[in-house]
């Protein structure tokens, strides 16, 4: 399954993705759809739990961001933006509390797809059944990426993790809003193009800073990509070549920038001081 295959598939792209994958793995399409339905419910549960609480994470670096944003006044008068960001952070703060989430494709990037997809659906008043096939397409995009590229930050940098989730979410939102197969794949490529080179630099190695806010930003990034693609904008570079470029950058990236907490934000004096204090504080 390549992005080019999905691009050439008849619209909606998710139908082709579902049939092809079921053939490959010997699964029944209705069974896969039922699992996707369950996962949408799990995503929704984690959003609701995350928006309700301001309980701190394992280290105390995050935990109140989603609720804080959700309860704050909407000064920009941009309810979609606020909703998408709050949903995404709600999921990742649940994750940082060792709560129950759906890895999509990973736990560190778990907020991007529910943030973008469920956020847009709630904004427009669409019911969850409409999200099932877009989520199938998101999975297909992830599968196409993982053919040539890693999806974990430790192997490919944050570009591999949040980049993949943003691309998957971008395609899903595009299909939800009636986009063609071509538009969906270009939305994914546009999202990927703009994550290339992103380092994975979690403070102390914890999936908290910058991961939680990064999910909020990239959920919006995914919605923006969908917006561009629905207006017929395309990735100038062929989508599969964008993945190749990203994989190449991932290989060139030094280990210090791939989830080892030995570079970037994790090595700032403030982060180092915080971690020293954390070690001293009683558990």
């Amino acid at each position: 399954m390549t992005l080019d295959d999905i691009l050439k598939a008849p619209s909606p792209a998710s139908e082709w993705v579902l049939c092809t994958d079921c053939e490959e793995n010997g699964l029944q399409p209705e069974d896969v759809k039922q699992v996707m339905r369950d996962r949408i419910r799990e995503m929704r549960d984690s959003i609701e739990r995350g928006l309700r609480t301001d309980a701190k994470s394992i280290t105390g670096m995050v935990g109140w961001n989603a609720k804080g944003l959700w309860d704050a006044p909407d000064l920009l008068n941009a309810p979609l933006l606020k909703r998408v960001q709050a949903y995404a952070m709600a999921v990742n703060e649940e994750n940082a509390r060792m709560g129950r989430i759906v890895a999509a494709p990973t736990a560190g990037s778990a907020g991007t797809i529910p943030g973008a997809l469920i956020g847009v659906a709630d904004h427009l008043g669409l019911d969850d059944e409409k999200l099932v096939m877009p989520l199938v397409l998101a999975a297909g995009i992830g599968k196409a990426i993982s053919r040539q590229m890693y999806i974990s930050g430790s192997a490919g940098g944050c570009q591999a993790e949040i980049g993949s989730s943003a691309a998957m979410a971008a395609a899903a939102v595009t299909e939800l809003l009636g986009g063609t197969s071509k538009a969906c794949v270009h939305a994914a490529a546009l999202a990927l193009m703009n994550t290339i080179g992103l380092v994975c630099d979690p403070v102390g190695g914890y999936v908290e800073v910058p991961c939680v806010s990064r999910n909020a930003f990239f959920a919006v990034h995914a919605v923006s990509s969908a917006q561009l693609a629905l207006a017929q904008l395309e990735s100038f570079i062929p989508p599969d070549e964008v993945i190749t470029a990203m994989a190449q950058v991932g290989r060139m990236m030094p280990l210090q920038l791939k989830e080892t907490a030995e570079g970037g934000l994790a090595q700032t004096p403030f982060a180092q001081g915080f971690l020293k204090d954390l070690e001293k504080s009683p558990k």
């Binding site: 993705v17 394992i58 280290t59 129950r100 890895a103 990973t106 993982s146 974990s152 430790s154």
Partner: protein
């Protein structure tokens, strides 16, 4: 790789590779032993050693060894659960050489049996078991997998696969490794569906076979 691996698993955070994957590595090791062990020695390599603590990797590995799945709410309390189950464990940092940075080496003992397993967590909760009792293998634990230890002899593959064919089960992949000609060997067979108890008994009765395990395949929640 299926669509369900890209959206999923449903899991306890914070990291799919360090938590869900680690849990599944523990679970695979437990399935290979066949029961709850009394003792577990766990070596953590590279990124598992370096950033495991903050990700609950230690908890997740123990949870898996206890038989918990990645979404089990008891995962964060795995150490207390281990005490209840009478499982003693110890961790150490190890250098396993040129393997994936998220790799663990687990030795389990209990009930007069022991097993040594090396497995990598490759991202998104997916794992690859790469060594069992020193024999190179390759399976991800999602499909039903049959493992056999046996005395290397002619016709072994044919005898085993013949019985699998009679059971009307399809083989996805098969690897054999042996220490030397005529020495101990291991066969690792990834199947499209689990074998019947009857077929497993028939295979176990082949005189050269000294050890057999039928892993059921992880549930994809």
């Amino acid at each position: 790789m299926s669509l369900l691996d890209m959206i999923g698993p449903v899991m306890i955070g914070p990291s799919s590779s360090h938590t869900a994957g680690a849990c599944r590595i523990g679970l695979a090791a437990r399935q290979l032993l066949g029961h709850t062990p009394e003792k577990a020695q766990i070596g953590l390599h590279a990124s598992f050693a370096k950033t495991g603590k903050g990700h609950g990797t230690h908890l997740a590995l123990i949870a898996g060894i206890l038989g918990f799945e990645p979404h089990d709410p008891r995962l964060p309390q795995a150490f207390q659960e281990a005490e209840k189950a009478g499982l003693h464990f110890e961790f150490q940092d190890v250098d396993l050489g040129n393997v994936h940075p998220n790799t663990a080496q687990i030795t389990l003992q209990g009930g007069q049996a022991s097993i040594e397993v090396m497995a990598s967590s490759t991202g998104g909760g997916i794992i690859e078991v790469i060594e069992v009792d020193g024999f190179r293998v390759s399976f991800d634990g999602f499909s039903p997998t049959l493992l056999l230890k046996y005395q290397d002899a002619y016709g072994m593959i044919s005898r085993v696969t013949g019985l699998i064919a009679i059971d009307e089960v399809n083989i996805a992949s098969l690897t054999c490794t042996r220490e030397k000609r005529g020495g101990t060997a291991m066969m690792c067979i990834v199947l499209d569906s689990a074998l019947s108890d009857y077929a497993i008994r028939k295979i176990a009765h082949i005189p050269e076979i000294s050890w057999i395990r039928m892993l059921p395949g992880f549930r994809r929640l």
